[in-house]
Each structure stands twice: as C-alpha cells, then as structure tokens.
C-alpha cells in the first residue's frame, strides 16, 4: 500500500512515519510540506521524495494520506486529498470550526474516501482493556467519568491562535472526550467550563476544567492543560476513571514506566515502556484503508470538537452550554 504524508508541522508526523516504516506492506511514497527545510529533512530521514507543491504531491499514485499540518490547514488538505481520491487519516482536532468539520466529512463522503481521525489513545493497551471490562459488564452501569489530559506546552504554532484555533483545551479535550464517547456509546448534552491561561504567559489558553453531562445522565469531569513543565518526570498523562455501579476502575495510558533517578536538573524521569499507541493507530488505519471503512470517523472527530468548542463558549459566556 502506498501512503503519502501531508505536512510535518505536528510532531506526531514523526511517530506516524516511524509506524509506517515498521509495516512491510506499506511504502511511504512522498512527503508534501511547504516548509521546504522541514519537508526535505523529513524526506531524507524516511528516504522518500519531498514535494513542496500540494498539487504535484496529490498527482502521485497513492492509496491514502496522513495529514499532520497546523489545525487551521486540516480542512484545506483534507478537501484537496479527498478530491484527489485519497483516503485520509487526519490529525486531531478534525478542524477548528464545526462548519469546516462538517464540510470535510461531506466532501470525503462525496468522493467515497474514508476520513479517519487520529485519536491514538484508543490504541493504548490499558485503555482498550478498560473498554473490554466495560463491554463485559464488569463495572456495571456507568455512573460517572473522571478524565485528565495534561502535558507540556508544545510551543510553536500550537500557541498561535490563528494557526491552532485554540490552546490546551482544544488540543487535549478531544482525546478524552473521544474515549468517554467510545466507552459509553452516548453523546454529551451539556458542557460547563472554566478556561484560562495560567502557566506560560502566553496569549492562548493553557488550562481548562469542564463538567459534562451525557445523554442518559452520566456525569463527567475533565482537566485539560499544558501544566507540565520540562523538569516534571513525565511529559504528561491521559487518565480516565470510570465509576460504575459494580466497581470503579482507573487507567493512566502512560503509567507503565521505570523511575530513573539522575543527578542532573531533572532528577527523576519516568521511562515509559508501555505499548506504542501511535503505531497501533497507524496499523489500524492501514487496515481501514484496505477495508474502505473508518474505525474512528469524521463524525467522531466532529463530536469531540463540539465539546471542546463548547468549553470555550461556556467559559466566555459564564453559562452551561447545551449541545
């Protein structure tokens, strides 16, 4: 199978490309990046061709593309790839507005190509094990969720509202909202949130907490932030606690680690040895392309985006937003 990559603006592009390299039946046929320096370096690293023009890149023979651009450019690249009949894996968030997300879904449907959204947390082994426990009825009825996704400030275009469309709340909320929707099979109906900038003296949000209600009455809390500084032992977390009528179970997707103590500025580091969820995402996408069926759809991306955007709205308007 021939795969192309569109932009290496998002750091996940590297781990996704690493994932492609591990698959014997997959060829990375080219990289489009109009940041020529970055694109050429990536092409050199992965021993493939660099394209600085999107139109030239999309003329190449390939089955699918992976879009890892700045958030604001997801729409442009997805629409172009869909019109060129390429199946698509798009980095999250799907878009920066509901209107754009809906248009992307529509154009992909019209062109009969799959639009898969990159939610790698679904491929974490402990996250999958908890899904299995829930599906087997071992937690009973779900009463509530507690979730966190807190990491380091990624800097660069992520902290430019024009290119990212939002800060930590947009960047991180979508992951755990997707997991909660996946576990429960229901949609969020109301969002109440506080969003602010606390940790980095930047002109974009780096902290947000929200309280969510699902259709049927399950309640949830979520903590999204870029609160982890470089000296903290680990990049961050992705946790979910499910309170069920039979038992409560908590998972941290990044919990599997060694404690490494050294005498440097960062005296303690957590060395992660858990499964590579990015590779799981890529392997799943290749199977989806073969079967022409998304496992994480554009609609999943849209519903998560709705919640993140509602969090901003709730904080600005100081009221609960009904979806």
């Amino acid at each position: 199978m021939k795969i192309g990559m569109m932009s290496f603006a998002h750091m996940h592009a590297y781990s996704y490309a690493d994932g492609l390299m591990k698959l014997s039946d997959v060829e990375l046929v080219g990289i489009f990046d109009d940041d020529k320096v970055r694109g050429k370096e990536a092409a050199k690293k992965y021993q493939t061709e660099h394209f600085s023009e999107q139109s030239d890149f999309l003329k190449e023979e390939m089955d699918a593309v992976i879009v890892c651009s700045e958030n604001i450019r997801h729409k442009e690249m997805v629409l172009n790839a869909a019109e060129a009949q390429k199946h698509i894996l798009c980095e999250k968030p799907i878009a920066t507005t509901i209107k754009d997300a809906k248009e992307m879904i529509h154009v992909c449907d019209k062109n009969d190509v799959i639009l898969q959204i990159a939610f790698p947390v679904r491929f974490s082994s402990p996250i999958q094990q908890l899904k299995q426990l829930i599906d087997n009825g071992e937690l009973g009825e779900i009463v509530a969720f507690r979730t966190t996704n807190r990491g380091q400030n990624p800097g660069s275009w992520f902290i430019d509202p024009v290119q990212s469309g939002g800060g930590a709340v947009l960047d991180h909320t979508v992951h755990m909202v997707d997991i909660m929707r996946w576990y429960l099979g229901k949609e969020i109906t109301s969002v109440q949130a506080y969003v602010d900038s606390y940790f980095h003296n930047i002109d974009i949000d780096d902290a947000g907490i929200m309280t969510l209600v699902f259709d049927g009455g399950v309640i949830a809390s979520h903590d999204s932030s870029w609160s982890r500084f470089t000296e903290y032992p680990v990049w961050g977390d992705a946790t979910i606690e499910v309170i069920g009528t039979k038992q409560t179970v908590k998972v941290d997707a990044f919990k599997e680690h060694l404690r490494l103590f050294t005498s440097g500025e960062k005296s303690l580091t957590h060395e992660f040895y858990g499964n590579d969820m990015d590779f799981g995402l890529i392997r799943d996408f290749i199977e989806c392309v073969k079967e022409k069926q998304s496992s994480i759809t554009g609609y999943d991306g849209l519903k998560s985006l709705e919640v993140a955007l509602a969090a901003y709205q709730s904080s600005e308007q100081k009221k609960t937003i009904k979806l």
Binding site: A144, S221, T245
Partner: protein, 237 residues
C-alpha cells in the same frame, strides 16, 4: 473539662502529646470528679446536655447535632484540615499563583453533603473566596452517588471537587500551578502495606483537634450556611 467527640479510627494516639483519656462510654458521673480532664469518646456517644458544668466540646462538623448549634462551648473541626498531609500542602502551596486544583474523595455511602460543605470551608482558607460554584449530582436512583463541584475562586484558581459516596475513605489532591505541581493520593502514600493494617495517612492526633478546631460562633455558622446554600443549588444530571 474538654470532651472530644471523634471517629476513633482516625485518631493517632502515638503522635498525641496532650494528656487525654480514651473512654468507651461517656460516664457523666465519673467525669464530674475531675474537671481538668480531657477525654475522647466516639462521636456516636453524644451527651452534651447531660454533661456537668460547661465542658468545652470538640466535635466533627459532620456529626454536629442541631441542638449543639448556638452554644458557646462547642468547637467544630474539619478532618481535611487536620490531616498532616494537608498541613504540608498548606506549607508548600503558593497561594499567589493561579492554577488548577483537583480534589477527590471516596467516602462512606451514608455520609452526607456536610462533607462537601466542610471541605469547601477548608478550601476557601487555602484558595480564597469562590466566585462561581456549579454542583452536579449523578442520578439519585443509581448507586454509588457521585457529585462534581466545579469552582472558580476569586483569586483565579479553578477547581474540581469530586465525591463518590461508597466504601472506604480515599483522598486524592492535585495542584497544578506555575512551575509547581503538588500531588497526593492516600492509597499511594500509605506507609504500611497491605493497607488494611493501618488507617495512615488519613489519621490525626488529638492535639490537631485541640488546636485546629473552630469555635462555632455566629460568623462561622453563617459562613457554613452560605456554603451549604451553594452546594444545595446543585442539580441532578
């Protein structure tokens, strides 16, 4: 005389310096003989109206009966405030910084919302006055009950306080501030494993009660009533 009512499982007598006598039953006649004594007895054993003289009474806020209100000799205490770990949190916490505060309790199925009120009281001493409070409860007909309190404090901190009303007590706390993160989980910080051998770290000394209690005067009563009204505004999902 000082009479301390307490959940005795929470008392760490080994770290207590004050002289205190543990009573299984509050014997009113026996107490009359020694007026300088400090005694401690289970909070289930409330007999304030029968006590000789006017003893100073110390009682957990959650166990405070209606007929104790308005009496000058009653002091209430909030267990969160007395835990040694929380003392340490106050030491290392830098209140001038804004940040995200996350607090989580598992409490007994039969505990009431008073636990939330007293925790909020303690939190306001750390984080300042609340500007906005939102409360949401899980469905009443489903157990365990879960409550999420979302608070924006005037000084800028945003907070979640969450309660699951089931089983054994567990307490988790996280503070994310500028270049400062505080984490505590009573399950992880237990110094003895298997955990059923100890109540640590969720214990406190008798001294902590004697020095950390608050006289239940009109100002305190009004403040607690205000917090109660905030909590009672919560909706069921």
């Amino acid at each position: 005389m000082k009479v301390i009512y307490s959940n005795l499982e929470k008392i760490d007598f080994k770290s207590t310096i004050s002289e205190v006598e543990l009573l299984n039953v509050l014997d009113v006649q026996a107490l009359d003989k020694d007026k300088d004594k400090t005694v401690i007895v289970s909070a289930d054993n409330k007999k304030i109206d029968q006590l000789p003289g006017t003893p100073t009474v110390y009682i957990p806020y959650e166990s405070l009966p209606e007929n104790y209100r308005g009496k000058d000799n009653v002091h209430v205490y909030f267990d969160l405030e007395l835990y040694p770990f929380f003392e340490k949190v106050k030491e290392v916490f830098l209140s001038k910084n804004k940040g995200v505060f996350r607090f989580r309790r598992h409490v007994g199925q039969h505990q009431t919302e008073s636990i939330i009120i007293e925790d909020m009281f303690v939190m306001t001493s750390l984080l300042g006055k609340p500007e906005d409070v939102e409360v949401i409860h899980s469905k009443k007909e489903v157990n365990p009950q879960h409550t999420i309190v979302t608070i924006l404090f005037k000084q800028g901190t945003m907070a979640h306080m969450e309660y699951t009303f089931s089983g054994q007590e567990r307490l988790e706390l996280e503070w994310s501030g500028m270049k400062r993160i505080i984490e505590f989980d009573s399950e992880e910080m237990t110094p003895i494993t298997p955990k059923h051998h100890t109540s640590l770290p969720l214990t406190y000394s008798v001294d902590a009660i004697l020095f950390g209690s608050h006289q239940l005067d009109a100002a305190l009563a009004a403040q607690l009533e205000f917090l109660k009204e905030l909590i009672n505004g919560g909706a069921e999902a």
